[in-house]
């Protein structure tokens, strides 16, 4: 036990004092924040740029009404209309179309609308643009055209316009989250992104530590330091000490990331998780780390260079990337049957459960059950890793095959 502590202490202090740790502790949170928030901020409705428009309309009446509504509803902070329009002077529809296409080609306008002759009855409008992005801009224009069309119908049927204005008013929508009988108001953005941040912190912490673990084992093998170590301690003690030491590095990393996230969140009033949430997060983070550490320690003991190990690591990394890719979906549907079943699949458990616990009230038996399954598989993986590690660690100049590994594990 003493030597396990010594190895653990050595691994922890060596990594924590390295420049790589310091740099990654600062850069990784920035990277996570950047990766999560920058695309979102760029896609915020408030950040829409506005477009220069032309409207092809035989009557000119629709164009006028649409233009007036756009000017009324959408203006930039400096008071300028967000959708300046380019007037078309040609009297005939065909000529107007040609003129608009030429303006679009010449870059004078960004897009143009073609109001079909039967628009009043059918509501048919075409939007023609060089770039088919501008999702928010298109939506604002579409809403304006929709309102103009609805108003026209009300006018034609001589329905009271005040009624329409009442109908067009937005309702007040407040979100509450219920936990332990308590209602708390929650922000939509926060509810969506906090679980994402949590799962990304977990992903990076687990893989940061596991990768270091694997690299450190490979380095000790290639530099033959392992021969020196194993003249003093058993392979089992060495592996346990390394896994624990680097696990502690991972926890330190998580603490740093959370501190950064809380400091960043504090400014906007966002809180990352409750105390109870922190407990379950740690439970799944620790079990998840041990599960993956056992796999990476095994891989490390099988190869003499990092390049040789890289192919296997590439394939292994695909497994946890899958729940990460699906995390936005899991946030939207945390209680779907497929998600609930996948939560019991050990490689996915830590990631899926952390998301589900952050966005939904997961029944206690699912939390306990999935943690138990993960713990059992982790114990099994650690046992297998121990067997492979002690057999392969001093095996040089020979590529170990999968049937050999299976034979070792069976022999125990």
């Amino acid at each position: 036990m003493r030597v396990v502590w010594l190895v653990m202490r050595w691994e922890y202090l060596t990594r924590i004092r390295s420049k790589f740790f310091l740099i990654s502790s600062i850069l990784m949170p920035l990277f996570i924040i950047g990766l999560t928030f920058i695309p979102v901020l760029l896609l915020q409705e408030e950040s829409v740029q506005g477009l220069t428009l032309a409207v092809v309309d035989e009557t000119g009446d629709w164009a006028q009404r649409i233009g007036d509504l756009l000017d009324e509803r959408y203006r930039d902070s400096d008071g300028q209309p967000r959708y300046p329009r380019y007037s078309l002077f040609s009297a005939d529809r065909h000529g107007q179309g040609m003129e608009a296409a030429a303006l679009l080609d010449g870059g004078v306008i960004d897009a143009y609308l073609v109001i079909e002759p039967a628009f009043g009855a059918t509501g048919a409008v075409s939007y023609i643009a060089r770039v088919q992005g501008h999702i928010f801009e298109q939506e604002q224009i579409r809403r304006a055209v929709q309102r103009v069309w609805t108003r026209a119908i009300f006018e034609r049927r001589q329905v009271n316009l005040a009624l329409l204005e009442s109908l067009e008013r937005d309702i007040t929508w407040t979100r509450f989250e219920v936990a332990g009988g308590q209602l708390t108001e929650s922000e939509q953005l926060q509810a969506f992104f906090m679980p994402l941040i949590q799962v990304m912190i977990l992903f990076f912490a687990i893989f940061f530590s596991s990768q270091i673990l694997m690299r450190s084992i490979i380095l000790e093998r290639s530099s033959r330091v392992v021969e020196l170590l194993l003249s003093s301690i058993t392979p089992q003690d060495l592996m346990t000490g390394k896994i624990l030491g680097l696990g502690l590095v991972g926890l330190t990393q998580i603490a740093v990331y959370f501190t950064v996230a809380i400091l960043a969140g504090g400014q906007t009033g966002a809180s990352l998780m409750t105390a109870q949430g922190a407990g379950t997060f740690l439970l799944f983070a620790i079990l998840g780390y041990f599960f993956y550490a056992a796999i990476y320690a095994t891989v490390g003991s099988l190869f003499e260079t990092e390049q040789e190990a890289q192919q296997v690591v590439g394939l292994l990394s695909l497994i946890p990337i899958l729940p990460l890719v699906l995390s936005s979906y899991v946030i939207l549907y945390p209680d779907m049957l497929a998600v609930r079943i996948a939560s019991f699949f050990p490689p996915f458990t830590p990631f899926l459960m952390i998301i589900r616990l952050a966005v939904s009230q997961v029944p206690w038996w699912e939390v306990a059950g999935s943690a138990l399954v993960l713990a059992l598989f982790t114990a099994l993986m650690m046992r297998w890793a121990g067997i492979v590690f002690r057999t392969a660690i001093l095996m040089y100049g020979k590529r170990v095959t999968l049937p050999e590994i299976v034979r070792w594990v069976r022999a125990g």
Binding site: L6, S222, S223, R224, V225, L228, S231, S232
Partner: protein, 234 residues
């Protein structure tokens, strides 16, 4: 148990990015010593090997010779009863070889058992009390240096021919070394029939029975055991 052994592997390596002293203290602690005791022993060794100035430096900044000395310290700092040294002089310059020999001598004087593995026979002659020759996983020679010499010593001859070496020498000798018109070999038959046989091959100007060096004993023994091995192979 492990604290009773010290091991210097043939292929060496230490944590390149860690400090010299802290690495040695860690490795010595793994042998069962407290942090304080390990620190004292390592400091004494660093002083003995003239490495105190490098104590806080990263191992990768040390010269190859100094790294070898550091590795040697890792094997002996905990004062083991048995030290296994695998080619300890490989890659060391003559000055550092001398230091290492002195330290090995000191360990011997303290009663430490040293298991010394090497292919350099002159080092074995100079340093070892007992030797054991392993060839293809089998012990083919064993005993003190005196025992080995007395067992094999009389059978080695040095013969000089006039006008160059004749052919057919291997009928009478296991050839260990040839130079110009001189051959050194071990006898395959008695002394008198061998001398007669060699004189039949060409004019012998010198025939000297001498004690073989350990290297010559090694070559002869290995060549002899290879014949035996070939015979038992299917």
């Amino acid at each position: 148990m492990s604290h009773r052994f010290g091991y210097l592997p043939e292929e060496r390596g230490l944590y390149q990015k860690s400090g010299l002293r802290e690495t040695l203290v860690y490795l010595t602690q793994l042998k069962g010593l407290s942090r304080a005791d390990a620190g004292h022993r390592v400091d004494a060794c660093l002083e003995r090997f003239d490495l105190q100035a490098q104590a806080s430096k990263n191992i990768q900044t040390l010269s190859k010779g100094n790294q070898q000395k550091a590795q040697f310290i890792a094997a002996i700092a905990h004062e083991p009863e048995v030290v296994i040294l695998d080619e300890p002089f490989a890659g060391l310059d003559p000055v550092n070889q001398l230091v290492l020999k002195e330290v090995i001598g000191e360990l011997q004087a303290q009663g430490t058992t040293i298991l010394f593995s090497t292919h350099q026979m002159e080092q074995v002659e100079r340093l070892c009390d007992r030797l054991c020759l392993i060839h293809r996983g089998r012990v083919v020679l064993e005993g003190t240096l005196a025992e080995v010499r007395s067992e094999r010593g009389g059978s080695c001859v040095q013969v000089t021919f006039e006008g160059g070496l004749p052919t057919g020498l291997d009928r009478w000798l296991t050839i260990l070394e040839t130079k110009d018109d001189r051959v050194v070999g071990s006898l395959k038959d008695g002394l008198a029939p061998t001398l007669k046989g060699l004189m039949d091959l060409g004019p012998v100007v010198e025939f000297k029975v001498r004690q073989p060096t350990l290297e010559e004993i090694f070559i002869e023994t290995v060549k002899g055991s290879e014949g035996t091995l070939h015979e038992v192979q299917p």
